[in-house]
C-alpha cells in the first residue's frame, strides 16, 4: 500500500507542476507551435458541414493541397472569400486542391454551410471540432494558409497575400509558392505574416 501512496503522491506532484507550467508560461496558450517547413504532415480526418468524414489524403490533388483556416464572421477571412474561391478554381486544374477548415468553436457546422453557400465558396470546408487540426498545424488565426505537397510535406505557411484590399496587393505569397512548386523551383518565401482573427479555440 505504501508504494501506492508514494505513486499517488508522485503523480499529484507531476500534475501540479504541469498545471503551473501551463498557467505560468506568459505566452498565449491559445495556439500550438507550427510544424517547420519541410515537416511531414500526417493524414487526418475531419467532417464536412454535413458530418461526412474526409481525410486529408482523400482531398489532396496530384500535386498537393492548400489548407486554409477560415471563419464565418471574421471580416479578414471574408475579405478573401472571392480570392479563395478563385484560388481553388485556378489550382484544382493544376492538381492542387484547396480545402477550408473552420476551427472556431463559436461557429457551427450549419453556420459554416450557410455561409459557404451565401458566399459561393467553391471549395470543401471541414469542421475541426476541438481545434485538434488547428493545434496540429499551429494555426493562430483566419485566414491562415498551408501548402502541403503530394508527399505530405509542408512547403508554405502563412498569408494568402499582403492586403485585404485587392487594390493594394503587391505580394501574392501563396500563389507564388504554388507556382514555384508546380514549376519544380524552390519556393522563395516559405513563410509569411498578416493580421487575422484569432481562432476561437475550445
Amino acid at each position: 500500500m505504501k508504494k501506492q501512496y508514494a505513486f499517488a503522491l508522485f503523480a499529484a506532484m507531476l500534475l501540479i507542476l504541469a498545471g503551473a507550467v501551463m498557467a505560468g508560461s506568459g505566452k498565449s496558450s491559445d495556439a500550438a507551435m507550427s510544424p517547420a517547413i519541410g515537416a511531414t504532415i500526417g493524414d487526418f480526418t475531419l467532417p464536412d458541414t454535413d458530418g461526412k468524414d474526409h481525410s486529408l489524403n482523400s482531398l489532396k490533388g496530384k500535386n498537393g493541397v492548400v489548407v486554409i483556416f477560415v471563419s464565418v464572421q471574421c471580416p479578414i477571412s471574408n475579405a478573401y472569400n472571392d480570392r479563395m474561391s478563385k484560388l481553388a478554381d485556378d489550382y484544382s486544374a493544376r492538381g492542387i486542391n484547396v480545402i477550408g477548415i473552420n476551427a472556431n468553436k463559436t461557429e457551427s457546422a450549419e453556420a459554416v454551410k450557410e455561409h459557404a453557400a451565401a458566399k459561393h465558396l467553391s471549395f470543401t470546408i471541414l469542421k475541426d471540432p476541438g481545434n485538434k487540426i488547428a493545434d496540429l498545424l499551429g494555426a493562430q488565426h483566419t485566414p491562415e494558409a498551408y501548402y502541403i505537397d503530394a508527399g505530405n510535406k509542408l512547403l508554405y505557411h502563412g498569408r494568402i497575400d499582403n492586403s485585404t484590399d485587392t487594390a493594394k496587393v503587391e505580394s501574392n505569397d501563396l500563389r507564388d509558392a504554388l507556382d514555384s512548386a508546380l514549376a519544380g523551383k524552390p519556393i522563395q518565401k516559405t513563410t509569411s505574416l498578416a493580421f487575422g482573427c484569432s481562432i476561437k479555440r475550445v
Binding site: M13, I16, A20, G26, A31, S163, A194, F195, I199
Partner: protein
C-alpha cells in the same frame, strides 16, 4: 491516506511555488528583447491622464519601431493591437480601459494600436473609443504590408488579433498574449512591474 494528506498538501505547495519561480525567470530569459521609445511619436503619452479620448494618429512601421524602442523612456509599457471589427478585441477592451485607469498613475504607459481601415479614423474607431470611455493614446496602423510590423513587435506572433504585449522598463517583453487577454494574468504581470517601482 489521511496521515499522508498534510504531507501531500505541503509537497504540492512547495512544488507549485518552485514551478512559478522557475517560470517567471524563464519567461524573462525567453522574452523577445524588444526595445521601446520615441520622443516624437509618443510625446503626448507621458502627459497627465486626460479626461477625453485623445486624437487618433496614424502610425507606420518606423513609428511602431519607435514606440517599442527602449530609447524612449524608462517606464513599463503595455501595447494592445486591436480592431473594432474584432469581437474578442471589443470584448476585452473595457478591461483594458480599466487597466489604463488603474495603472497609468502608477507609472504604466499604455498605447493601443488599431488595425482598422485608415478610412475609419474619424468614424468607427473614435466612436468605439468614446463608448468605451477610453483615454489611452490610440494609433491606427497605416501600412500596406503588415509583415514587417508583426516581425518587429514579436517574432513568434503570427498576426492573430487581439494581441497584448507588456514591456518592462528595460524594454523587455514580460507578458504577451494572442487572443482575448486573461485580465487577472495581465494585472498580475503589471503589478510585478509597477509594484517594484522600476
Amino acid at each position: 491516506m489521511r496521515k499522508l494528506l498534510p504531507f501531500i498538501i505541503a509537497c504540492s505547495a512547495i512544488v507549485s511555488g518552485f514551478a512559478v519561480s522557475v517560470l517567471s525567470s524563464s519567461r524573462d530569459t525567453a522574452a523577445v528583447g524588444l526595445r521601446r521609445g520615441s520622443q516624437t511619436v509618443q510625446s503626448s503619452q507621458t502627459k497627465a491622464h486626460p479626461a477625453t479620448p485623445q486624437a487618433i494618429r496614424l502610425v507606420d512601421l518606423e513609428g511602431v519601431k519607435k514606440l517599442i524602442s527602449s530609447d524612449r523612456q524608462t517606464k513599463p509599457l503595455l501595447i494592445n493591437f486591436w480592431a473594432t471589427w474584432c469581437d474578442p478585441c471589443r470584448d476585452e477592451f473595457p478591461d483594458l480601459v480599466k487597466v489604463d485607469q488603474d495603472y497609468r498613475g502608477k507609472g504604466l504607459d499604455f498605447i493601443a494600436i488599431s488595425l482598422d481601415d485608415t478610412a475609419d479614423i474619424k468614424s468607427t474607431v473614435p466612436e468605439f473609443l468614446r463608448q468605451m470611455k477610453a483615454t489611452m493614446p490610440v494609433y491606427l496602423l497605416n501600412v500596406n504590408d503588415p509583415e514587417p510590423v508583426i516581425m518587429a513587435v514579436d517574432k513568434d506572433w503570427g498576426g492573430a488579433l487581439p494581441a497584448t504585449f507588456l514591456y518592462d522598463a528595460q524594454g523587455k517583453v514580460v507578458f504577451r498574449h494572442y487572443g482575448r487577454v486573461k485580465t487577472p494574468e495581465l494585472r498580475e504581470a503589471i503589478e510585478k512591474l509597477v509594484g517594484s517601482k522600476q
